[in-house]
Symmetry: C2
Subunit: 226 residues, 2 copies
Amino acid sequence: MNKCDQCIVRQLSSLKALNKEEVIQLANSKTSYSIKKGEAIFEEGEVTNGVFCIKDGVGKLSKLSANGKDQIVKLVKSGELLGQRSMISNEPANLTAKAIADMEVCFIPKSEIIHFFNNNNQFSLNLMQSICEDLKESENDKIALVQKTVKQRLAETLLQLHDEFGENPDKTLKVQLTREELAGIIGTATESCIRLLSDFNKLELIELVGKKIMLKDVRALKKMAE
Amino acid sequence: MNKCDQCIVRQLSSLKALNKEEVIQLANSKTSYSIKKGEAIFEEGEVTNGVFCIKDGVGKLSKLSANGKDQIVKLVKSGELLGQRSMISNEPANLTAKAIADMEVCFIPKSEIIHFFNNNNQFSLNLMQSICEDLKESENDKIALVQKTVKQRLAETLLQLHDEFGENPDKTLKVQLTREELAGIIGTATESCIRLLSDFNKLELIELVGKKIMLKDVRALKKMAE
DNA sequence: GTTTAAATATGACAATTATCATATGAAAAC
DNA sequence: GTTTTCATATGATAATTGTCATATTTAAAC
């Protein structure tokens, strides 16, 4: 009757390398939380002293600029770990983590993670690979920001959101982002984002169903993203 | 008479955690190269199967866009390792590495690094922290690209180059970048970069000494970067 | 259910930045 | 030493994107 054993995070994240004993140890040291949509898991500058497992929900990692705009660096979803980098670097959080949809998370204290890291080579390799994946993605995002137009980035982001989060029964994107958040991901002004969505709608690349977005012409979007 | 033992890379990089035996092992498995300015160490898509130690010189990690522009993701200098991410991820290189100044590098095969990783916790932690540092930097760069103007990014980059690489006896920046490369770092067109340098020169924030750049008013540059 | 607040939408305009053209200077090739 | 090539420089202009204003719609609060 070990709850961590069957957890999605244990199946998808670096934690899959843990053996039975380690999972028991994990289950005993973790604490569970519910985070409501809009609430923060941690804020920039906070010392977290551990990592968060995302059992359910979606979150965003972002940084607020001086002019009040919130640049979203990464979305996280169930099965993933959060706060790995700060923990490894021994630094306060560089970004703020907030729930975009209601979340269920568990907190694992740093001491546990370090223990696994030192005693389980597969776990440390997994953790490293996961951070490397983040690094690659971040570098590619950075390049896209410079080499692509806002229109291309919007097309690219819509496709990525579709790939990563899937669609609802009505074919709309499953992640429910505000236009402001979508703008924060592609790195543009909210109005520009809204305007382009409207253009895409007129071009029948997408369909706007209320605040939800449905991809209508994936091929054309892919072509546009290049 | 162990050459790796006294090497700057051994003093500055994750390799500082290696013990005597491991350093001997390292010295026996490494191969040394000289890379002339402009030459590539590895290219995007290549399988490297190991990491490169930078004994001397400066390199750039970049990606060429469809329109021929070269976005520079990171500069690397003596004491640093190169190609860690691809090796850990088991992927071909995501970026091209080229020498900006003549370089002396050593190649360490993957098998060696993995061996150290599995047998030396401090080494694996160092390696991880170094990658985390890259990730943080990349995320912050990404945010700056969106939240700052080209002018601010130029000011910021000049200060960073000064901090990281220092200055020549004539007070000019030690890293000798072309205007095109500088534009590739801040993510703008070469002409825009040249124009802004010219403006900065007129404002007496910097002085252009031929192709070299001297920082004249660091305080004003810092203010501008914010 | 009405009021209020917030999100979405669109127009008008300004600012920033890129592109193209062309000139000048410096270094490399012959 | 001359020619050629490349980097730097600057002007003119266009394209992209941001900002401000203001509707309109939707959701939340009372």
